[in-house]
């Protein structure tokens, strides 16, 4: 089992009222799953994804990641955990505009303990794997949206995470580009990478093995 959420609550206090963002979320994810989180705007999809990615905290409940209790371990330990096991893919790619494709891919490795030669090999490997060797010296602004997202996924994958969290990865792409990205996810999943994506599209959700539906912070 990769992770397990038990009775997760998250809220904000606003004007004396408690507004629940997440309400009693329970589910578990096994390695190799491909899960889609769906729901209307404001239903808490992104919040849930951030909680899973340990970018955001929660107020109540328990969260086990690879048998580590995320709710009670220290911040430093937690960040080591997600640094090692989780990769993120964003709707708007979040590539650094001032860095080339190659440098963007290398960037996460700088924050882990890899030697220069190792980094180079890993970047070359990733460029190869995604067929973007020819683009390695281009800047994000010189790429199409689909290509940028490709780089974003490559970056998420570069340090071999067990889990990819994708927040509407095709939201900014046209349908053909979107299809290609989803095919890529499928292929990664077949290779053993666990994927959790947030999506609006039934079609994209169908790539996954399981769908979690949210409404007003609650699973339905």
């Amino acid at each position: 089992m990769l992770l397990q959420l038990n009775n997760i609550f998250k809220w904000v206090n606003s004007g004396g009222q408690r507004i629940f963002l997440l309400k009693d979320i329970n589910f578990e994810v096994k390695e190799g799953e491909f899960i889609s989180i769906m729901g209307p705007s404001g239903s808490g999809k992104s919040t849930l994804l951030n909680v899973i990615g340990m970018l955001d905290g929660f107020d109540e409940g328990e969260y086990q990641f690879l048998d580590e209790p995320v709710h009670s371990i220290k911040e430093k330990h937690r960040s080591n955990l997600y640094k090692e096991y989780i990769g993120f893919v964003f709707q708007s790619y979040h590539l650094l505009d001032e860095l080339t494709v190659k440098e963007n891919l290398e960037m996460p490795l700088l924050y882990k303990k890899y030697k220069g030669a190792e980094r180079k090999a890993m970047v070359a490997d990733m460029l190869d794997r995604f067929n973007i060797v020819g683009k390695k010296d281009l800047f994000p602004a010189q790429l199409s949206g689909g290509q940028q997202q490709l780089v974003g996924i490559a970056r998420a994958l570069i340090s071999n995470p067990k889990l990819i969290l994708a927040d509407e990865p095709t939201g900014n792409l046209n349908s053909k580009q979107g299809e290609e990205i989803m095919e890529l996810f499928k292929q990664l999943n077949d290779e053993g990478v666990t994927i959790i994506q947030v999506t609006h599209s039934e079609k994209n959700a169908a790539y996954g093995s399981r769908i979690i539906n949210l409404l007003d912070g609650r699973m339905i």
Binding site: L95, L96, L110, Y111
Partner: protein
């Protein structure tokens, strides 16, 4: 301007209190510093300016050393002025002044000591347009023994009586009655030639004190001489003619002229009427003022553009609602004007409030008259222009944002704009590093001046002086001085006593000099100025001056004699490499033969700004000061007052009718560096302000860059960067700029401070540690300022910054 804009602006200021405060404080400090320094600079530049002053020149002497002529004496012969006027038609008028200090004026019971004034030709008022309140300026200086008093001096002496026609006892050496023929307005303090009275020049021919120089000659050059030159004269040609004129028949010297207005800041010759200012100092201060002001504007631009990012959304909404760019420029501009106007008002109030204190500190009346204010208009124009430009820039940047982008929150300052800001901040660093190095060098030099042994022990030596009002005869007076000397010597806390003509630190006052000496080898030399003065043999004990060879001279029965003590420099000039070789050798000057009986160690008579001059001391009865060496017990602060009281009572018991005053020689010697000390303090103070402003600017830029890089920081954190790694990422840029600024700052400050040190004959070194310390300090302060914000940015939750729009 639409009042609604002003209302919005005010609301905005109140909402962003910290930002407004930093902004207004920075501008206030910048403007106030600039105005204060410029008042001072303007005052220094205003010396000797009056209607027509541009046509007035001073005649001085050049002396030849080797093959080149160099300025050698601010005073010239009594024939110089009249001869030049006669020879050259473009010289319309000339005036000779014999400057005299320490004059005591007495009217019945009223005794006023320590007055400074001059003997002056009647033409004085044709050149210097000081109005006479009473008397006729055409006749007041014609008759011998006529005196003109300034208004305040006349009031002190005569109260409300009309002084015209009354008699004033004038003590200068001895007592001479003078008739008051005029009262002039007080002469403003911004002149190099301060006179509180004028005596008719023709008094000189019969006044006993001038015995030996009572004829027109080319021998005694003790006269300040000023020329009034016709408008449109060719000054360069006149100067050349005066230099080439050989009326005095001397090969090794020549006459020269300089503009009156330039004397205070640019002339530093032997025998000036007073210690002049320094153009160097004034230029340095002007530069500091300019830097501080520019820094405060840079700071403003940085903060305003940084802040503008936060307002981009507001601008976008306004644009969508139909605002034209010009509307927005106007709105932002009116806000800026509000801030700058406030700062200007606060700054001017601050200046007005601190001016009395500043005046006291500088020892000057900076705002002497309204015309002075008018002459400041270029500075105010400069302030307004700078304000205008620094306000326009942010307004145009901000109003240029595209609404579609800003509404989505996607604002990206152009990379050019960022480069400009980086350049500005590097410039700020450059300026502050240069100033910091300057402060440290000035401080080091002033410590050096204080700690350098001067070759005489001034500590505990006090010079007593006073005007003896009831002893007209010199010989009786001298006998009384011997009595007093003995009495003082008997006091338990007195180590030694001597009379002397002058003393170390006394400058050129009472210090005669000569050129033209027959050396022991018989050769005659006329190219060096030799200084000499009279003392009693005890002088050397009082001053703790040590001998390299030989010993103190013995005075003859009359207190005089022809045995002399010379300094090492003198011995060297005479051609002796070893001090003992000079002993028993004879030199000739002033038509007499003098025998060297002792060679003393060089001591610094003029302070460390001047190189050691060849000097000799001879026995004599001059009593300009009575030097008393107190022992350590008397110097104890609790004892000092009673010690000084007993000195005074002894003085009064021997000279019941007299004035009494004293000077501590160590303080007097250090006072030579007062201007430098104050310069150092001002330098340090304004450097501190500059750093403060620069750091505030940095604070602004940091918030700007961090805002710019929020997304990047978030992405990096999501990808595993730690707080420490983000911090070093944010800080390394600043370190880079400081490094760059530092590299440029080193040669600039090295060059500038060497220029400043040129004003000192003896100077400290610009050590490497000064640069190291400055670099370290700048880095430390910068990282402190930057980290204040970058820590917060680095530890922010990336979810916040990366939230999908």
């Amino acid at each position: 301007m639409n009042p609604i804009f002003l209302k919005i602006a005010l609301r905005y200021l109140l909402k962003n209190r910290l930002y407004s405060f930093i902004n207004i404080l920075g501008l206030t400090v910048g403007i106030a510093s600039f105005v204060l320094i410029m008042l001072y600079v303007n005052y220094e530049r205003s010396y000797d300016t009056f209607s027509g002053s541009e046509h007035v020149y001073r005649v001085y002497m050049d002396y030849k050393t080797g093959d080149v002529f160099a300025p050698g004496d601010a005073q010239v012969y009594n024939l110089s002025g009249p001869t030049i006027k006669q020879e050259f038609p473009e010289v319309l008028e000339q005036v000779r002044l014999f400057h005299m200090g320490g004059v005591t004026l007495v009217n019945k019971e009223t005794v006023l000591g320590e007055n400074v004034g001059s003997l002056a030709d009647p033409s004085y008022f044709d050149i210097f347009p000081y109005p006479l309140i009473k008397g006729d300026k055409n006749t007041a200086l014609v008759e011998p023994y006529s005196i003109i008093l300034t208004e305040s001096l006349a009031h002190k002496l005569f109260g409300d009586e009309n002084p015209l026609g009354k008699t004033v006892s004038t003590f200068w050496g001895n007592d001479v009655p003078m008739t008051v023929t005029g009262v002039m307005k007080d002469i403003s303090q911004n002149t190099h030639m301060k006179n509180s009275f004028l005596i008719s020049f023709d008094t000189l021919w019969t006044w006993e004190m001038f015995e030996g120089q009572q004829e027109l000659n080319w021998a005694n050059n003790n006269f300040f001489t000023y020329l009034k030159v016709a408008e449109n004269s060719n000054i360069a040609a006149l100067r050349k003619k005066i230099q080439e004129n050989d009326a005095d028949g001397k090969v090794d010297e020549r006459h020269d002229i300089e503009a009156l207005e330039r004397i205070h800041l640019h002339s530093n010759k032997p025998y000036e009427a007073e210690a002049n200012g320094s153009a160097n100092r004034v230029n340095f201060l002007s530069a500091i003022a300019l830097i501080v002001l520019l820094l405060s504007w840079l700071n403003y631009v940085n903060l305003a553009t940084a802040k503008s990012l936060e307002r981009a959304k507001e601008i976008g909404i306004r644009k969508v609602a139909g605002a034209q760019r010009l509307h927005l420029v106007w709105q932002i501009f009116s806000e800026s004007i509000l801030i700058n106007g406030l700062a200007l008002i606060i700054a001017l109030t601050l200046v007005a409030l601190t001016l009395p204190w500043f005046n006291g500190y500088m020892g000057q009346e900076l705002m002497v008259a309204l015309p002075n204010l008018y002459s400041l208009w270029p500075f105010f124009a400069f302030i307004l222009l700078g304000t205008f430009i620094s306000n326009l820039y942010p307004a145009f940047i901000l109003s240029g944002y595209r609404p579609a982008k800003t509404l989505k929150g996607k604002i990206q300052g152009s990379s050019q704009g960022l480069l400009l800001r980086k350049g500005l901040i590097t410039l700020q660093f450059l300026a502050t590093i240069v100033l910091l190095i300057g402060t440290l060098v000035v401080g080091k030099q002033i410590r050096f001046l204080k700690n350098q042994p001067i070759g005489a022990q001034l500590n505990g030596v006090v010079a007593l002086r006073g005007q003896i009002l009831d002893q007209p005869s010199d010989s009786i007076k001298n006998k009384d001085f011997q009595v007093l000397k003995k009495e003082l010597g008997n006091l338990s806390f007195v180590d030694a006593v001597s009379t002397a003509q002058t003393y170390p630190g006394g400058g050129y006052n009472n210090l005669p000099s000569f050129m033209g000496i027959t050396k022991p080898d018989g050769s005659f030399e006329e190219q060096t100025v030799y200084y000499q003065y009279q003392v009693q043999p005890d002088f050397f004990k009082v001053m703790g001056i040590s001998f390299l060879a030989g010993d103190v001279f013995h005075a003859n029965a009359y207190g005089g004699g022809n045995d002399i003590v010379v300094n090492e420099q003198f011995a060297r000039k005479m051609g002796f490499s070893n001090a003992s070789e000079a002993l028993e050798k004879e030199v000739k000057y002033w038509g007499q033969t003098w025998k060297i009986v002792g060679v003393m160690e060089n001591y610094h008579h003029f302070g460390l700004k001047t190189v050691i001059q060849p000097m000799l001391i001879r026995p004599g009865t001059a009593t300009s000061s009575l030097l008393v060496k107190l022992d350590d017990s008397a110097l104890n602060p609790t004892q000092l007052e009673s010690a000084m009281a007993s000195l005074q009572s002894k003085w009064k018991s021997v000279f019941p009718e007299s004035t009494f005053g004293y000077t501590f020689l160590d303080k007097n010697f250090e006072a030579q560096y007062n201007d430098d000390k104050k310069f150092g303090e001002a330098f340090g103070f304004f450097t501190f302000l500059a750093i403060l402003i620069a750091l505030m600017g940095l604070f602004g830029l940091t918030s700007y860059t961090i805002l710019q890089r929020r997304k990047e920081i978030g992405i990096r954190k999501v990808n595993g960067a730690t707080v420490g790694q983000i911090l070093s990422l944010l800080n390394q840029d600043f370190i880079k700029w400081i490094g760059l600024a530092f590299i440029f700052a080193i040669p600039i400050s090295w060059f500038a401070m060497n220029r400043w040190l040129e004003g000192f004959a003896y100077k400290t070194t610009i050590s490497w540690w000064i640069f190291a310390l400055t670099g370290f300090l700048t880095l430390f302060l910068t990282l402190l300022t930057v980290s204040f914000q970058s820590v917060r940015a680095a530890s922010a939750n990336p979810v916040e910054t990366l939230r999908e729009e």
